[in-house]
Symmetry: C2
DNA sequence: CGTCGCGCTTCACGAACTGAAGTAGGGCGG
DNA sequence: CCGCCCTACTTCAGTTCGTGAAGCGCGACG
């Protein structure tokens, strides 16, 4: 709030600095769209925080919320194009994390690639079907 | 802390999610290295937070602290290569901020480019002398 | 002698986030 | 038919994170 509004980095930082925001965008980019799905993927998030974050992002125009008045009531959250524009940032974070932060994941992923492709999902963001879908 | 350690994005997020972290790295990348310099650039940060953040980043190996036992005692903070690797992220944030977040800065910057180059300093990060210096 | 700048630390306060529980409506197992 | 699970949340109390103001030791400047 006290940050310099004339600087685009600061404006982005204000959106992005929330603890779960980027992780949440990542999950949405990977195609998870329902509340409890996100809650399960983001191990440790409290439903309150998830709810708050989703609402905030919705207000920012980064996610869109679709309520289906079915039984059981289904709610889906999707990234808007403004939200999708954050994906390169997440890609950079993945690169940074792999390169500089003890990368048990890379080893694990490499081992997994031959046996269980399902677990490799978070390292193919660049070719994620959800992205192609929204980009089209 | 509760985040999935097997995911590089999560590991990066834990470093990056602090409110001022990225802004601080940005200032350091632009060549500001002294405590009070950073304090002035990051309008609104409390010295306590700055101190805490610098210490945390030092522990992470992202900044290096150099104390010169001169009169007056001077302290300089510089990005390590691990810290410099965060710069692309900041670049992405600048791009995002310019493209999607009400960009008074771009107009301002464009106007400034012809009249007062000093104020344009934060948009030439890619060719900042500090970067070339540390990369060399 | 008083005030300034530097590089912090301390303190009290508020905002953000957590963890556990509750809610409302329905499904499904025993 | 009873109780437990599922979805999508909300509520509450408690912890952690960040703020704003003040202070401190030191030397310089006026």
């Amino acid at each position: 709030m006290a940050t310099d509004q004339s600087c685009p980095v600061c404006r982005t930082a204000e959106i992005v600095c929330g603890k779960w925001t980027l992780l949440l965008v990542k999950e949405l980019a990977e195609g998870n769209s329902r509340f409890c799905e996100l809650e399960r993927q983001l191990t440790g998030i409290s439903p309150r925080t998830l709810s708050l974050r989703l609402r905030a992002l919705e207000e920012e125009g980064i996610v869109a919320r679709h309520t289906y008045p079915e039984v059981p009531p289904r709610v889906e959250y999707v990234l808007t194009s403004k939200g999708l524009a954050l994906v390169p940032l997440i890609e950079d974070m993945r690169v940074y994390g792999s390169q500089w932060l003890g990368d048990e994941c890379a080893a694990e992923t490499a081992a997994v690639l031959g046996s269980d492709p399902a677990l490799g999902s978070d390292q193919v963001l660049g070719s994620d079907p959800a992205l192609a879908e929204v980009a089209a």
